[in-house]
Point group: C3
Chain length 469, copies 3
Amino acid sequence: MTATWTLHPDRLLPAEPSTRAVARRLYAAVKDLPIISPHGHVPPEWIAQDIPFHDPTSLLITPDHYVCRLMHASGVDLADLGVNQGLLDEAAFRRAWRIFCESWPLYRGTPSRFWMETELVEIFGVTQRPSAATADAIYDQIAGCLARPEFRPRALMDSFDIALIATTDDPCDDLRHHEALRNEGYHRRVLPTFRPDRYLEPGRAEFPQLMGDLAAASGIDTGDYRGFIAALENRRAYFKAHGAVSTDHSHADVITLTLEEPEAARIYAAALAGTASEDEATALRRHLLVEMARMSVEDGLVMTLHPAVFRNHDPGALAAYGPDTGHDIPLAVEFTRGLQPLLARYGNADGFHLVLFTLDETVFSREIAPLAGYYRSVYAGVPWWFIDAPEAMRRFRGAVTETAGFTRTSGFIDDTRAFCSIPARHDMSRRVDCGVLAQLVVEHRLDEDEALDTAVALVAHNPRQVFKL
Amino acid sequence: MTATWTLHPDRLLPAEPSTRAVARRLYAAVKDLPIISPHGHVPPEWIAQDIPFHDPTSLLITPDHYVCRLMHASGVDLADLGVNQGLLDEAAFRRAWRIFCESWPLYRGTPSRFWMETELVEIFGVTQRPSAATADAIYDQIAGCLARPEFRPRALMDSFDIALIATTDDPCDDLRHHEALRNEGYHRRVLPTFRPDRYLEPGRAEFPQLMGDLAAASGIDTGDYRGFIAALENRRAYFKAHGAVSTDHSHADVITLTLEEPEAARIYAAALAGTASEDEATALRRHLLVEMARMSVEDGLVMTLHPAVFRNHDPGALAAYGPDTGHDIPLAVEFTRGLQPLLARYGNADGFHLVLFTLDETVFSREIAPLAGYYRSVYAGVPWWFIDAPEAMRRFRGAVTETAGFTRTSGFIDDTRAFCSIPARHDMSRRVDCGVLAQLVVEHRLDEDEALDTAVALVAHNPRQVFKL
Amino acid sequence: MTATWTLHPDRLLPAEPSTRAVARRLYAAVKDLPIISPHGHVPPEWIAQDIPFHDPTSLLITPDHYVCRLMHASGVDLADLGVNQGLLDEAAFRRAWRIFCESWPLYRGTPSRFWMETELVEIFGVTQRPSAATADAIYDQIAGCLARPEFRPRALMDSFDIALIATTDDPCDDLRHHEALRNEGYHRRVLPTFRPDRYLEPGRAEFPQLMGDLAAASGIDTGDYRGFIAALENRRAYFKAHGAVSTDHSHADVITLTLEEPEAARIYAAALAGTASEDEATALRRHLLVEMARMSVEDGLVMTLHPAVFRNHDPGALAAYGPDTGHDIPLAVEFTRGLQPLLARYGNADGFHLVLFTLDETVFSREIAPLAGYYRSVYAGVPWWFIDAPEAMRRFRGAVTETAGFTRTSGFIDDTRAFCSIPARHDMSRRVDCGVLAQLVVEHRLDEDEALDTAVALVAHNPRQVFKL
């Protein structure tokens, strides 16, 4: 390694010299554009209250399940990384940080490596590659930064140039932080997102309790199906009034169907009574996804789908550490048949936007691109979560573009809680897309002025248009 | 963009200089070989009657669902593009053409972009990139061409150097146009293809009606199963006598099974009476696919499968515009289990050829290549429809070649009704395959003389051998 | 072709000059490392008895179903290649060899081409490309080699530098050859592998017979379920005592479940009596896979899964030529749901190793990499069988690395009976991985010292660590 750790300006650009030359010119045009982040998981109170970050470990390691999971696989206990341990003491934070630095070789070839090195070098000015020998010095360097005002969330919002960021919120959330930001006239947009999964799954044991919460939040009696629907509409309106532009949905599948209202009402009542069968509960869930589309047609909120994950695959870890700790595992998914009932009703409805994300790459060319290339509502969501990485991004463009072009894709979504990784994530996407476009240019499939226009559109236009920003 | 719109001679060839140099040499050897088109959808009367093309829009836009679907997704009404509107007036043709030219950026990175630019520049001599500003001039340029004799179908057959073209025809078609061409001794081969899908789906409401048509066409009573089978054999023989070399099949799946004749006869009778259950009708369809294989073994017609598409996904568009208007959406498919009963009987039968196409790329390496690399009858069909494009073609060769080599692949199939796009489609395939072969050469996996031999074989030998031309 | 047939030193390395330069440096560091082969099918008696190879055809053609299948597809009878024909006479061996040499163009772009040319040139000193014209001379050249002592198995073990090789063995095998090798103090490791598939499939007609064999081999009464389990444990202990480090499993799926012991015992008794239903037999098989994991946790044997192949797809060939003659065809597979019951119990158990192989590439990024990137026991097996080839290896690294890195992968497995192809197979893997790593370096995603460390680890460390060598 070099004596001083630096990042090469051409990272992720294709190596072939003529391609790289084009890619550099495209990237130069987009690298400094403001960040638009229409879907993610940053807690809004961080920004609303401008809470200083506490320490390197709880900022960069503990909450990042991409980072923790590979260490777990290699034998590290999640507890030693602080997962679900409350606030550690200084020695434990340092120990966790050292474990991570010793584990640096695990991340070779992963996007976590790219994100983390970008954060360390570009945000915190680290000059040494992580290792056992450098762990303490890097910890001190970052801790020193975090003590300074220019590393508080709002200062970083400015230095990262995040023009807009969306959070993900429970339908019963009072959105007080969003309201506070709006009331004070904060100069960057921080939007809520309506994420109703649990309220749309009548098979959950806690469904009756959730219906009570929904009634309390909406002030509408959810004792019957009509009240339930009205309460959902009420909360969507509340979210919209607080700036929301989209709803997000993640169920085990995207199969849709429509029930007659009496049948939906009957199953709803059974679910409240705890007597709905699994099949009935599933049928109602699938019906409710169509209802969500109907509401989107009416209220204009963009509908995004992030389906087909086996949540909490490891029951031992769920018991010990809670959810979202690295053992959600993707499943195969099917859109063509599953979404047809929904699309037959609303696929070309005025103003309806439906963004399809997947962790199952097989549907990119087979299903998503053909749907997005025909239906007015459908957009191909860019790679998400496990496949939010250079090779997968290239596969996405390779699989989707030939059927749906570039205009029917969503623009980049960082989908992260790791606040400091946001610039690195958007930068990775910009670099990869510029490389893809450069390849089209050097193979004479696109003129360079067109590639330039497209590179800028993917960053500055597509997310605004798709998410109605 | 450059002042004059030109096409680079190295389009689609790999950018890396040593690879491009090899690819150029390979491409030089194949670029001018005659076009063999053993599967497509050009209406035979165009050639038989040498009907002049009417105008740029109805030639290049209205019937091309690749082109129309992306405009539809972006908000254009299919009616404004002339779909299902009968003959437009001149102003409407021009308006549709202008919409298309304004929509030119939609096609960036799609094969439609490549095909259309090749047609505009190489066939019609257009010198300006399509845009609102250039729409009228381009329209006039093409319209001017179409008025001239050298742009009538037979002149284009010659200038395109289409040595052979197959059409796709209903089993009850009298093939009068093919017969007329043969009778006059037309010097290029125009062949029919037997496409019996509807007649093999006893679950269709119109099945009894279709059986009546089949009886009328064949002169054989289709009142029972034996008559039905005899009538199918009769029509196949009729097609073969009119030059057909293949049959084509596209059902929702390729699951096969064999019924005992009494059971097949019983279900057939029930289907005629409208009393067959869905499961019975499906079982008979799957049995009939094996019957088609048996007949191919006996009469020598090549059997091609194009399965697993959800037809007419958008019922609103079906009602307004009819079928084949851009909303057929691919489905996952399975060959290994599904075709086993058929292949157990006929997989290695003398002279039987079975060509497997797919829109589900996952089966290329997993199922099609292993089947084509063992069974004498099976050939891997090249990418089709949505995946008939450079990146997908490269994925096809990458997925299939390592198991099945080059000799077990079908040769290029344009599968198009867009007559003027045929040379561009074959040219794309030739360029991409030369690039793939060049990569093998520069990685020292193939000697250049072998690559050259293979490049020529893929164009000149494989389609002739696979389709028995 | 060149006058003398030679192999380029840069075979399989990327063509782009800066990438090739890095790849060369990486490859130089690994090309001469000893071969570790922890899974394969070489008969142990070849080494134990140092049996001279008989002739070129029975060594290189007849037993290699990769080589035979493509000739079969092209019309060659397997009998003419010696398959299931007993010992041919000299003229027949020569005829078969000539057929192969004439068929050389079939293998363009396949790994068989690479392996065979490497064997011919590097082991046997062949200087002419195979063809009808050169067939006899090449045959004579190889036959001349085989008559010499330096071409006997043990001499080749030394010249190939195979430090360790594992065989695949029936649970009732007495492992006499492994024992003999150990007793004589042979200086290279030859290990058995416990492969119990047939004994874990209660639906097989021969299951009662197999239970009798198992009782005889173990000396334990297998008349009830407890005895059956004890007998399996006994044979695993026997294998372990004879050097085994792993067990291997290949069923139609990897669905797992756990039965209560009385239910397992009931089905077992029914299976012995021939009265178990297909569903019961399948349930017991799936339960037994979890039992195998339990035993691995207890005895430390590494568990490897090679699932989802339709065995003996062509019943005619099975009858004429027996199994393993080129018509096993891959199936789609599912791991996320299927393995969850097993992983919920043992996924993070101390010392448990579970290596997941697949012929269905769709699970690489969707399921295997996420599982291997979280569970301590799970490793991603490298491409196997049909996909054990350069393009597929690149797809594997492209699909797996971004989620699971390099450390969670198995190291190369040659899985072959073709003894002389072992060095070529490992060489291919090393070349391809060095190319993949070089691309990461020239795109500035990895420093070259890290790439070098990883290249060496993939060859020298990963197989030792994963297989506990």
